[in-house]
């Protein structure tokens, strides 16, 4: 049961933290249509996060709801992969191309994972996955289309998308590294088994876009521990400070 809680948190935190990052684009996208699209994707992921955190709280049975889990957990308790927490822009940590690169990698990975998860022995996870699959297919398609546009647009946009992929690629191996919880839990999907499928999807996009898979080193874990163990990048603390500050500042408040 602890494992199921942990697993719901893993998948829920991925969606929550990534949604927080995507929402940073709100009112800053390159065109209004894209503002709408990125907000849509952030909303889909926020919806997934809410279902999964609620489920984690229910299984845990300690009275924590989605908000207690989102707002009152400390950084070391967040179990998302590091890919979703890094700053890919807008602003200094990235740009629209890095944002699209992360969306491509993340949604290709999560779609493969959720497709598998629709057959989970846990009916709630299976239901969340079934709903999420449709959303993620759209996200992946959106990212793939932009990857083609940026790679085939101007010389500058091509340079940016190559740099964007290099920005996010160091966090890719972690997506496929199984955590003991994922190995033990029958209801879970072992992410290692998704690698070739996801690689295939990405290679298809890269081929169509005339891009190479980035040749960059992977970011090491810390003594074998990474996001799934609550060992994050230094970007995470700032993200949580912003996300949690109001909620933490008003204990007992109703929202």
């Amino acid at each position: 049961r602890d494992d199921l809680v942990a697993y719901c948190l893993m998948l829920g935190d991925d969606a929550l933290v990534y949604s927080q990052r995507l929402a940073e684009w709100c009112s800053r996208a390159p065109e209004l249509e894209e503002d709408v699209a990125l907000a849509n994707i952030a909303l889909d992921l926020l919806g997934q996060a809410r279902l999964l955190l609620t489920r984690a709280g229910e299984v845990e049975g300690a009275g924590r709801d989605e908000d207690a889990l989102a707002y009152l957990r400390d950084e070391r308790g967040f179990r998302n992969v590091r890919l979703v927490e890094i700053d890919c822009g807008p602003g200094e940590g990235g740009d629209f191309a890095a944002t699209i690169a992360r969306l491509l990698v993340f949604s290709a990975w999560r779609l493969a994972l959720f497709q598998r998860l629709t057959e989970s022995v846990d009916p709630v996870l299976a239901a969340v996955a079934a709903k999420g699959v449709k959303e993620l297919a759209y996200h992946r398609d959106h990212a793939a289309q932009w990857t083609l546009r940026l790679a085939g647009g101007t010389a500058y946009s091509r340079e940016r998308v190559i740099a964007g992929l290099a920005r996010v690629w160091p966090y890719v191996d972690e997506l496929f590294t199984p955590h003991p919880v994922e190995t033990r839990l029958a209801a879970a999907v072992d992410p290692a088994t998704l690698r070739s499928e996801v690689d295939g999807v990405l290679d298809t996009v890269f081929d169509a876009a005339g891009l190479e898979r980035p040749d960059v080193e992977q970011i090491a874990p810390v003594a074998g521990k990474a996001g799934r163990d609550g060992v994050h990048t230094e970007a995470m603390g700032y993200l949580l400070a912003e996300m949690q500050h109001v909620a933490r500042s008003m204990p007992g408040a109703l929202w």
Binding site: A23, C26, S27, R28, D35, A49, D67, A70, L254
Partner: protein, 307 residues
């Protein structure tokens, strides 16, 4: 002149002018300016509320707020499309906005200081917008009227959500109630200013009424908003910051105090607390995205050549 008579007949009969119909140049210009300013207001309006998405203190409120700000982008899109049916060009309108040559609603030049502001914007600012916009659903230009029908539906949803947030906060802690009251104090007067200058100073009102672009004067709409808001404030348990606010049985309306028109004109002219910041934010987003739009255009052109 037949065309002009036909135009006047359609307007007088409360039918709609459509893009292909003949229309006086002044009508077209007035509409383009009004629709563009309305579109700009939706786009600039994303900022003060959008600022709180990352800090919304519950996931439900975060989702509601994100969806609302997304809706505003959508409203901007409908409205730019409506302006385009009149021959306007979206890029040109955007340029006017980011260069400060065209206005947007002054209400967005005030800062959002606490999460209660999100609720108060929903309640009062969207409420005032609805008062302004409901009559526009019957405006004489068809595409604008149809856009407004859709927008008003979503706006009233937003208004209910804002009011509901405030009701929830008022049931919460004392600090929350203080927060709500503080936000109401800051937003009430700017909300009243949203209806524009008093009728005697409103240059364009008369012509807009004749053309049935507008259907009510600024002061009529402002009174309607006050009458609507006072009982809502009572139900919420907040006092509106106007000692002169009182029911006038004779008029059948609430009397209210004098608006600080000096502040109104200052903000309209660009010197509100956030004018520079709002336009700079939009300009930066626009400029930062230029290479992306160029890439998309180059890619589309390339695909077209290949097809």
């Amino acid at each position: 002149m037949d065309l002009e008579r036909e135009f006047e007949r359609v307007v007088a009969a409360d039918h709609r002018i459509e893009p292909r119909d003949w229309m006086p140049e002044g009508y077209r210009k007035t509409l383009v300016r009004q629709i563009a300013q309305h579109a700009h207001s939706e786009i600039i309006g994303m900022q003060p509320e959008g600022d709180w998405i990352s800090r919304a203190p519950s996931l439900r409120r975060k989702a509601i707020l994100l969806a609302k700000v997304q809706d505003e982008a959508g409203h901007g899109l409908y409205l730019y499309a409506a302006a385009e049916t009149l021959g306007a060009d979206r890029d040109d309108l955007t340029a006017r906005l980011v260069e400060g040559r065209q206005k947007y609603s002054s209400i967005f030049n005030y800062p959002t200081l606490t999460f209660a502001d999100v609720g108060v914007i929903g309640w009062l600012v969207d409420g005032a917008a609805i008062c302004n916009q409901v009559p526009l659903c019957r405006t004489s230009y068809g595409p604008y009227a149809r856009a407004m029908i859709r927008i008003c539906k979503e706006e009233s949803f937003h208004q209910r959500q804002g009011y509901e947030l405030l009701m929830t906060m008022m049931r919460g802690t004392r600090a929350q109630r203080d927060m709500v009251r503080d936000a109401v104090d800051r937003w009430w007067w700017p909300a009243l200013m949203m209806f524009g200058p008093p009728d005697e100073e409103s240059a364009n009102t008369e012509r807009s009424l004749a053309w049935r672009i507008k259907r009510h004067t600024n002061d009529e709409l402002r009174q309607r908003f006050v009458d609507m808001s006072v009982p809502q404030a009572e139900k919420l348990g907040v006092t509106l910051p106007d000692p002169k606010l009182a029911w006038n049985a004779e008029r059948g309306h609430y009397d209210f105090g004098e608006i600080d028109w000096a502040e109104f004109w200052r903000v309209v002219k660009g010197d509100g607390p956030c004018n520079a910041q709002r336009v700079a934010h939009r300009r930066e987003a626009h400029e930062d995205g230029a290479w992306v739009r160029e890439a998309a255009a180059a890619y589309a052109a390339m695909r077209e050549r290949a097809a």
